[in-house]
Symmetry: C2
Subunit: 359 residues, 2 copies
Amino acid sequence: MKKPAASTIRNVAHAAGVSVTTVSRHLNGRIKLPAETSERIRAAVAKLEYRPNAIARRLSKGRSETIGLIVSDISYPFFAAIASSAEEEASRLGYSLVMFNSRNIAAKELAFLSRIDDAQVDGILLMTNHPDDGALVEKINACSNVVLVDEDVPGAMAPRLFADNRLGAQLATDHLLAHGHETIAFVGGPPALLSSRERFGAFKDSLKNSGLRVNPDHVFFGDYDEQSGLRAILQFAALDNPPTAIFASADMLALGILQGCRKLGITVPAELSLVGFDDIRNVDLLDPPLTAIHQSAEEFGRRAVGLLIDHINGAEIPDVAPVAVKLVVRHSVAAPRKAHWKLAGNASAENRPPARVGI
Amino acid sequence: MKKPAASTIRNVAHAAGVSVTTVSRHLNGRIKLPAETSERIRAAVAKLEYRPNAIARRLSKGRSETIGLIVSDISYPFFAAIASSAEEEASRLGYSLVMFNSRNIAAKELAFLSRIDDAQVDGILLMTNHPDDGALVEKINACSNVVLVDEDVPGAMAPRLFADNRLGAQLATDHLLAHGHETIAFVGGPPALLSSRERFGAFKDSLKNSGLRVNPDHVFFGDYDEQSGLRAILQFAALDNPPTAIFASADMLALGILQGCRKLGITVPAELSLVGFDDIRNVDLLDPPLTAIHQSAEEFGRRAVGLLIDHINGAEIPDVAPVAVKLVVRHSVAAPRKAHWKLAGNASAENRPPARVGI
DNA sequence: CTGAAAGCGCTTACAG
DNA sequence: CTGAAAGCGCTTACAG
């Protein structure tokens, strides 16, 4: 199955009547050759269809002009959007970007990071969900040239780029508060993650600033997926005093919540208000269009790549500003039912019928 | 910035008191060593934290145990889902999978394919939208070890894996027909693509079998994205005789159509029925839940990887069966308005008011 | 300025 | 069975 041996730099040198050294230097732009010589090389390259062997180059040079991106799940829309943007920026800066899917498996993350050792990649953008894995911290510190994106790995010595989680959560919560909600639930991802901690922290602070306290029954931590959102709403719906609003700290959670609401016959926003986080593509087409905290995947990818390439080139990385967030108001938030009843003065939250009404 | 030189196989050999050859052979399982010797090697590996240099291995061996996946846009949900599944299957079979984002740029596809030449990857899963690019065919044939996934590159000599496009389109069209629609529009992607041609072909056939003909005004080809869907519905809505139903040959197109309907005040399915294709995650949460042709991204990724690895290993690739499709009925299809009017006998399609009514 | 030669870290025919 | 040596295709200090 061997294909015809590809031509090598030796063949080119021979055909052009110069040394291998000269060809190499010329092709890498480290030398200025007489027009006639460089033309001979050009012709030889063309004739032999010479293409430098990148593997050989890496082995001797120790660089690949390639960067990697490790992601726990490429089919997670927000991650895919970041990956797409990162590729574009890398390309603009003369780098290739290869993407690795870790499926959230710590061992795969370590294996992918090891590709820095071989110079398979010059550096890596790491998006992980294993913040407290000791081996990971060690590996990152051994590798250098990794930048942490979206989630933290505490203790790792690496540049980091995160969203403004606290501001986002505050905007979301205040928006719900402004509509008169007083029993607001929080649905989060894995509690150890930076995003969960910061978003939940700001959520609590916002409630406190309004004189409210968080009800432990109204807090749910799971994974950042539809499943968890579904479980959360099922759990809330079974409560004697279900919340009138939910801050879902990821759109994928909101999706699961919406799914659950449909199953249970809860109408959003009439009976339950909902705000998401991420603002992934097409959430404006949901039923109802989702009000969400927007963070720019494009900015995430672009800035992360810039940071990494600067770092690879030995530049000092200054403190980096968080990725900006903003509230995008659509139609998944309304005034709480309870509030109306209060006005009417005829029912307390506790003894009203469960919030399960057909559409 | 050099990190402490990683240990090499020479260091290990030295520490274990054997030759480099022996270490290499032992580590690659080509040799059975006395327990005592292999233990010395194990200890040396552990002590020196030896990790084989994959780049050096590739250079001398010409294989990488890595496969690549080229995709035009990793943030396209259906593609991301395929990529995710492909990675899982590759991993199961002992291969790494790296993903390349081509942004639909032919030159990038060629460059990525060239990574086969260097043994950066042993083979490639190619998802392209450049079916008629002569250079691509040539490159694929030169590379061998590529398999075409989802779309064809006519003339290329490579195994292929496609969905059952014709059946899918037929199921979609017949479903609309069964609801009484007679003016059904087709919205497709780039007309040169296999998916567009097959889906449009089967659409036409289904109409013909019902004694209907396709109205050129009711056919729109664009890209497979929301933008194109939006443009299509805008164009249809301006017609004197807009369609009562649309077969959108990709969910992303359906998303754009839904967006347009919302803008124009067209209610789906009351005024316009819609069926999509792909059945990507969460289309059941749209407004309305989208009826769509389902194709399994999981099956696509899994089977494509199997095909590629068999091909790499020189196995004969038999004719491959298409990826199965099925109709998933949700709530974006209803009987046509026109049909009701006909029953009432008071208006023809031509002079009824345009289908633009507020919700 | 140019080129012969060593070296990057492996694998593997070849000889002992 | 084992190991010294050549080779994979580049880059680059070093000498001319």
